[in-house]
């Protein structure tokens, strides 16, 4: 027997260990091994197990709906023959207000009609091309197993009809689109839609189901340039769209056309991305996807904010609504939402619930690091306005203003910082000359000063950004605090100094 070596040996050892610990009942290892083992056996079997036998009962004519509505759940326990009749029409429609574009459509809408069947159904597909069409068209349904997804068998000239039959072996939400050359142009003109192949047991019941498909559009003119706009092939090749839209028009799902729901309801969105080029970062502002069947497949993720929907792909999202308001569906590549039109509205009505979302509760001014209350300041300025300003009011206002501005250097107790900032308390320099005091506050001071016998050579910056009232009040405060006593300083005196002296360069007026 060959010796087991290296990586293979390690892997084997780990596997043995995991198995042994599972036997021991060690929780983490056992749980992990059990879950992955369970998942390994729990797959739905894909197409190999998707054939439930021949159709039973009478053939059913499929109910097709226009967006944003969705046909009712299939609600059937056996495979059936379903007849789908889909007509291609080339139509001039508004892509944006005042902007006309020639769309090529399945069923007269962009996206095309929604098709809803059950896994295992046999679909007899009739594709009709209206006689007024100029172009031939065909269809590739991503849920079809077979050449071209049906494209090879459905190539249809204007005024004619093709038929082909397929069995839907895989469950899921699938894009369908036209595949006639040049394919990108047919897709860019709106030739896509969704076909839902329900799992055999059906989907869980929800209160609302809606159908939304994103697409990118390329016009010769600019965004919202009015008039008839032709398709621009070069912009499409360069992947530089003019519009990025839900359901083929800027107005498709806003205003009166918004999707509707009520508080307390669970909404399911069948979301597709027809492309032709862009990948969507699909998000609903204000909601979280409780369940998300990523890429339209069988498994769901929970609690997702934004999901990627590939071009030519789809996703199913489900969320419960707790709070009323307008929820905005966007492509979170956000310039597409606000500059190219990729937004839609879900309008939710119902009772508020402030415990979940309160709305705005407080609107205060925020002073940053100015922690003081400016009540005294406003009182003083009101008094000044009415001509009843008293020295006491000035001192009080000045104190509020001093703290946080002057106190940074001269300190709250007016003592300054030895050898650095001169004191104001009992300052001979301050009290000797009122006009000089005002000048220093307005214009700053540099060079040597001697205060109470001590020399200081710091620089005081000009404080001329303070207005006359503020300077007057502050000076009234400092000349009457900490043992200082002097007359009030009036705003007029400050104004006179301001007018007759020059501010240093860079200082405020």
């Amino acid at each position: 027997m060959k010796p087991i070596n290296g990586l293979r040996g390690t892997a084997l050892a780990l596997a043995v260990l995991a198995a042994l610990s599972a036997c021991n009942g060690e929780q983490p290892h056992a749980a992990g091994a059990a879950v992955s083992a369970a998942q390994a056996t729990q797959d739905t079997g894909g197409s190999a197990r998707g054939d439930f036998g021949p159709p039973q009962g009478e053939p059913i004519k499929a109910v097709l709906t226009s967006p944003p509505n969705v046909p009712p759940p299939v609600n059937r326990k056996h495979p059936a023959k379903v007849i789908v009749d889909l007509e291609v029409r080339e139509l001039d429609m508004e892509i944006s207000e005042g902007v006309k574009y020639t769309f090529w459509t399945f069923g007269g809408t962009v996206p095309g009609s929604f098709i809803r069947i059950r896994q295992g159904d046999t679909v007899e597909f009739h594709l009709k091309n209206h006689p007024d069409s100029k172009m031939p068209h065909n269809i590739d349904l991503h849920g079809v197993t077979g050449p071209g997804g049906g494209a090879a068998s459905s190539f249809t000239a204007p005024g004619h009809e093709s038929q082909f039959t397929f069995k839907a072996l895989n469950q899921g939400l699938f894009i369908y689109h036209c595949a006639t050359a040049p394919v990108g142009m047919h897709v860019a003109n709106g030739m896509y839609g969704l076909i839902l192949v329900e799992p055999p047991e059906g989907l869980s019941k929800v209160d609302r189901e809606y159908y939304v498909v994103q697409g990118d559009y390329y016009t010769v003119g600019k965004y919202r340039e009015k008039g008839y706009q032709a398709f621009d092939m070069q912009k499409a090749i360069d992947e530089n769209p003019t519009y990025v839209l839900f359901n083929g028009a800027e107005s498709a799902l806003v205003g009166a056309n918004a999707l509707k729901a009520n508080v307390g309801e669970t909404v399911r969105l069948y979301v597709g991305n027809g492309g032709p080029n862009l990948v969507s970062s699909f998000h609903v502002i204000g909601e979280i996807f409780d369940k998300l069947w990523f890429e339209g497949g069988t498994r769901f993720q929970e609690n997702v904010q934004t999901t990627l929907i590939p071009a030519g792909g789809a996703a199913i999202t489900e969320f419960r609504l707790e709070v009323p308001g307008s929820y905005v569906l966007v492509d979170h590549s956000i310039f597409r939402a606000f500059n190219k039109g990729a937004l839609a509205i879900l309008k939710v009505d119902g009772a508020e619930d402030k415990s979940i979302y309160s709305g705005k509760e407080v609107d205060n001014t925020y002073l940053g690091d100015k922690a003081v209350s400016l009540a005294s300041v406003s009182e003083a300025s009101q008094a000044a306005a009415s001509g009843t300003l008293t020295k006491e009011q000035q001192i009080k206002a000045g104190g509020s203003l001093y703290n946080g501005t002057c106190s940074v250097c001269h300190q709250a107790n007016g003592e300054g910082l030895p050898d650095v900032f001169p004191p104001l308390a009992k300052s001979d320099f301050l009290m000797a000359d009122k006009t000089r005091a005002i000048t220093v506050v307005l214009n700053g001071l540099s060079g040597k000063v001697t205060v109470n016998g001590k020399d200081f050579t710091s620089v005081m910056p000009p404080m001329s950004q303070l207005n006359d009232d503020e300077v007057a009040n502050i000076l009234s405060y400092v000349t009457n605090s900490w043992g200082n006593q002097g007359p009030a300083v009036s705003p007029e005196e400050v104004a006179k100094v301001r007018a007759t002296t020059q501010r240093p360069q860079g200082a405020a007026h």
Binding site: E90, L91, D92, T102, P131, D132, S133, K134, M135, P136, N138, D140, P147, G148, A151, A152, S153, F155, T156, A157, P158, G159, H160, A179, T180, A181, P182, V183, M185, N189, V220, A230, F231, M233, Q234
Partner: protein, 269 residues
């Protein structure tokens, strides 16, 4: 006073223009122009690996066949009347736009005839001593604009084609002959109607246009498998190929007409 005179003048001018257009269409409708021999890059490879097609000198009609001309043919050959022609040769919408089986409306007279099948077009051209052009002959003549034999690299040329494709079929087609002549003197190859060619049923393009032809089912198409459309940047031309390849010989559509060709004097095909 001045306004009324102006209005009258404009009305006269418009009427004259319309009469003029009809007269012009009438005058040139039976005319052919010589197309010299040449070689050009085609979207339908003449042989696997060879994209250059050789075209022998031939004559091409200046405009598509009109409703009036086709009506004259139907009167002369009642087997081609609507209602008489076998379903094998024309589908149920054959000449559906005429009020009766033999006569278009006066407004339709100078418009290109549509709702005609390949068999009908062929029969008409044979009755005139001509034939339908082949795809390569048509593509070659249509590559030209007013000043150049091959204008296909010009984005403006392509955009003109795309603009016509993008608009849905008009209720009322314009009269033939109103577009500017190309360098050969031929008109209306673009922007008016799709046109039948003799080998329209044999363009051998897969019905799924995305097929790359790299999986030749040698027994389905003896020889080289379904043709891939070359020159994918010639999408405007490829759309015409796609359109023709969707048709069976008995099909008619509202935007599909034809014009005739003739072998150049002294040459046999």
């Amino acid at each position: 006073m001045m306004n009324r005179a102006r209005w009258l003048a404009a009305a006269f001018g418009l009427a004259a223009a319309q009469l003029g257009a009809a007269a012009f269409a009438d005058a040139i409708a039976n005319d052919f122009r010589p197309i010299p021999a040449g070689r050009f890059e085609s979207v339908i490879a003449p042989q696997p690996g060879v994209t250059a097609a050789d075209v022998r000198a031939f004559d091409l009609a200046i405009t598509p066949v009109t409703n009036a001309q086709f009506a004259a043919f139907v009167r002369a050959q009642p087997a081609w009347r609507r209602g008489r022609v076998a379903p094998l040769f024309a589908d149920t919408r054959y000449l559906a736009h005429w009020p009766d089986a033999e006569t278009p409306t006066p407004a339709q007279a100078q418009q290109p005839v549509t709702q005609v099948s390949w068999f009908a077009a062929r029969a008409y051209c044979a009755a005139q001593g001509g034939r339908l052009p082949t795809w390569h002959e048509w593509e070659y003549a249509a590559a030209a604009d007013a000043t150049r034999r091959d204008a296909r690299a010009d984005p403006a040329w392509r955009q003109r084609l795309l603009d016509w494709y993008a608009q849905p079929a008009d209720e009322l087609l314009p009269a033939v002959g109103q577009s500017p002549a190309n360098v050969y003197g031929v008109r209306d190859l673009h922007g008016l109607v799709w046109e039948w060619v003799d080998d329209a049923g044999s363009l051998m393009v897969s019905a799924d246009n995305r097929d790359q032809g790299d999986d030749p089912d040698l027994l389905k198409f003896c020889g080289s498998g379904a043709v891939t459309m070359e020159q994918k940047d010639q999408y405007a031309v490829l759309m015409r190929v796609a359109m023709l390849s969707s048709l069976k010989a008995s099909y008619t559509t509202a935007t599909l007409g034809f014009r005739c060709a003739r072998d150049a004097d002294g040459e046999s095909r």
